[in-house]
């Protein structure tokens, strides 16, 4: 609670100079008063005295809270340490043109495209992993940041729904992975780090890039999961093509390379939407480790509290005003 007070800020200070006005209700005597011959005849009544006090306190409260409201107070942005079970997950989603195709290689009416399947499963995954930190990057020819690593689920979900626009371009896996690794850079390792690559193809990585990525994974201690959305007649990750041509079947080469990274690596070959789901479920089981993260709470306007108080004070004062005696039985004067 005291911590909250430390975060209290206000936009304006000048209304506070008028705070002495709050003493006004204790000075004024200009109230409707009845003349009574001798108040010594009226018995001492604490309730009446408190009614009077409550009236004055309400008036003071009204003035004070309105002045405070004029200061536009707010609670500053705060960072709160949170603990949970989960992982730091960077989703690296392929948005290349081929993702628009369905698993059967030819888009058919009503069938799910690979992108749609990935989207649906990722959405579900995001919604269910309440204590994970999730970030998302989409890549085609070049990577694009959708949501930085954090627990802002909404950003990830809106990023996912934005993929409905359809993919385009090539598959630049290396750039996407490099960007994902960048988000782990310089942050404390408070949970297991996972890079979740969702793609339907791969690209050839040259030796320099391979070294760069290997260094990155080792330094960030990030594990890698690859969900390979395999088309019916797409290349297998495990079967080496006879031609021994990396360029022709980059998926196999990439899988081989990932296995040499020196960090935990798992590849899932998904050939239809249900397999994608199964793959995601096995990942969800793997990543449960205690996570410490900081949640940012946006700054909060608390002027409404002042207005509520002012309203309350006004209601009290108005109520007392309504109970006030207007006429005393002196209607027979001058008879």
């Amino acid at each position: 609670m005291l911590g909250l007070l430390n975060e209290l800020r206000c936009h304006e200070v000048w209304p506070l100079y008028f705070l002495p006005l709050a003493l006004l209700p204790w000075w004024i005597k200009a109230e409707a008063q009845f003349q009574y011959p001798s108040i010594s005849m009226i018995p001492h009544d604490p309730f009446s005295i408190w009614v009077e006090r409550i009236w004055r306190i309400s008036a003071t409260l009204l003035i004070t809270s309105l002045l405070l409201a004029m200061c536009k107070p707010y609670l500053a942005e705060q960072k709160v340490d949170r603990y949970g079970n989960g992982a730091h997950i960077m989703v690296v989603l392929d948005r290349s043109g081929s993702m628009n195709d369905d698993f059967a290689d030819r888009p058919e009416q009503g069938s799910a495209s690979k992108m749609a399947a990935a989207r649906r499963v990722l959405t579900e995954f995001t919604e269910n992993s309440r204590q994970d930190l999730i970030g998302m990057i989409t890549f085609s020819t070049s990577p694009m940041l959708v949501a930085a690593l954090g627990n802002d689920r909404k950003a990830v979900l809106s990023g996912l729904s934005a993929t409905e626009a359809g993919g385009m371009g090539f598959t630049a896996v290396d750039k996407g992975l490099a960007m994902a690794l960048d988000f782990f850079e310089g942050k404390p390792v408070t949970g297991s780090r996972v890079v979740l690559l969702v793609s339907d193809g791969a690209a050839h990585l040259d030796a320099k890039t391979q070294d760069f990525l290997r260094n990155g994974f080792v330094r960030q201690q990030a594990s890698l999961f690859w969900i390979y959305l395999r088309s019916k007649n797409g290349a297998s990750l495990n079967e080496k093509l006879a031609e021994d041509d990396d360029q022709a079947a980059p998926e196999y080469a990439l899988n081989q390379y990932f296995q040499t990274l020196g960090v935990p690596y798992q590849a899932y070959m998904a050939e239809d939407p249900s397999q994608v789901k199964a793959a995601m479920q096995s990942i969800a089981k793997l990543k449960n480790k205690p996570v410490k993260y900081q949640e940012v709470i946006a700054r909060k306007d608390i002027g409404y509290l002042c207005y509520m108080t002012a309203l309350l004070a006004t209601v009290v004062m108005f109520g007392l005003y309504l109970t006030e005696v207007r006429t005393w039985r002196i209607n027979t004067i001058g008879k």
Partner: protein, 284 residues
């Protein structure tokens, strides 16, 4: 304006011939004693029956006490609380009462005088003792022209005997009797030479006819500050109780000071009730 009758149980000492018993021998109203004829040579009053009872025989004469007039005074409280307007204007009511006293006194052959006091003695409402019948109108016009401005109390009440004669008089003390007990006791002590009739003027608006519910801020008319009063049946009852207790306390105070019991006037002055009160309790 109706006159009321009053009767005193004490004997006055001289003055002018009037209607009240005295200790002065003379006249033919109140029988005093049988005395020998030679002591009071008044053959008209020879009492043969008393003469025959004497041994040795001598002529006896009846003697009587003279009836003289007394001085009646109205002592009026002029504190601001007398300006209260409820069912009646208290000041107007006291003017009526003073007029009734004056008229009764004049009709009775007594003199009438008026002394008024607030925090000081009020000479503008002072009326010296007189037999003039016109005093009834004089005092009424004096009292009607009074303007209440500043809130004042009645601190000069113990000093009213400065304007009263030393001879025992009939003093009507007209007030609402809201003053402190010390002041009242002292005033009554200073008035012990006189036959004091307290007349308490209260108004039902200040006692019974307060609203049942509601918040009112009341201002003391004698400048003793303000008070917040949240009226509700319980508090109203407590106020009525307070007045009842005050009534009993006043009666007790007057009795212990050795003067007549007070005459309570609520809203209206009835001269018959006043007559009744004066006859029932004719003072010591």
């Amino acid at each position: 304006m109706e006159a009321f009758h009053y009767h005193i149980a004490w004997r006055s000492h001289g003055g002018r011939v009037g209607g009240h018993p005295t200790k002065i021998t003379g006249g033919h109203a109140d029988f005093n004693a049988h005395v020998p004829l030679m002591q009071n040579f008044n053959p008209k009053r020879i009492d043969l029956r008393a003469s025959l009872k004497t041994v040795p025989k001598q002529l006896m004469v009846r003697t009587f006490h003279e009836r003289y007039a007394i001085q009646a005074y109205a002592v009026v409280d002029m504190s601001t609380s007398m300006n209260f307007v409820g069912q009646q204007h208290k000041w107007q009511l006291s003017t009526e009462i003073v007029q009734a006293i004056a008229w009764s006194a004049i009709c009775n052959g007594d003199t009438f005088g008026c002394v008024a006091a607030d925090d000081s003695l009020r000479m503008d409402v002072y009326e010296p003792s007189t037999h003039r019948a016109a005093v009834v109108d004089d005092i009424a016009s004096k009292m009607r022209s009074v303007q209440f401005t500043q809130p004042v109390g009645i601190k000069a009440l113990p000093r009213v005997n400065e304007l009263l004669p030393t001879r025992r008089s009939l003093v009507f003390l007209i007030s609402d009797f809201y003053m402190g007990e010390a002041l009242l006791t002292q005033s009554l002590q200073n008035l012990t030479a006189h036959d004091v009739v307290p007349i308490v003027i209260w108004d039902s608006a200040e006692i019974n006819e307060l609203p049942d519910w509601g918040w009112m801020r009341v201002n003391d008319m004698e400048g003793n500050g303000t008070r917040s009063v949240f009226l509700r049946p319980a508090l109203k009852k407590a106020i009525q109780h307070a007045y009842h207790a005050r009534q009993q306390r006043l009666t007790q105070l007057f009795t212990s000071a050795g003067i007549r019991s007070p005459f309570f006037v609520l809203n209206q002055f009835h001269s018959e009730a006043m007559t009744q009160h004066m006859l029932e309790d004719s003072g010591c």
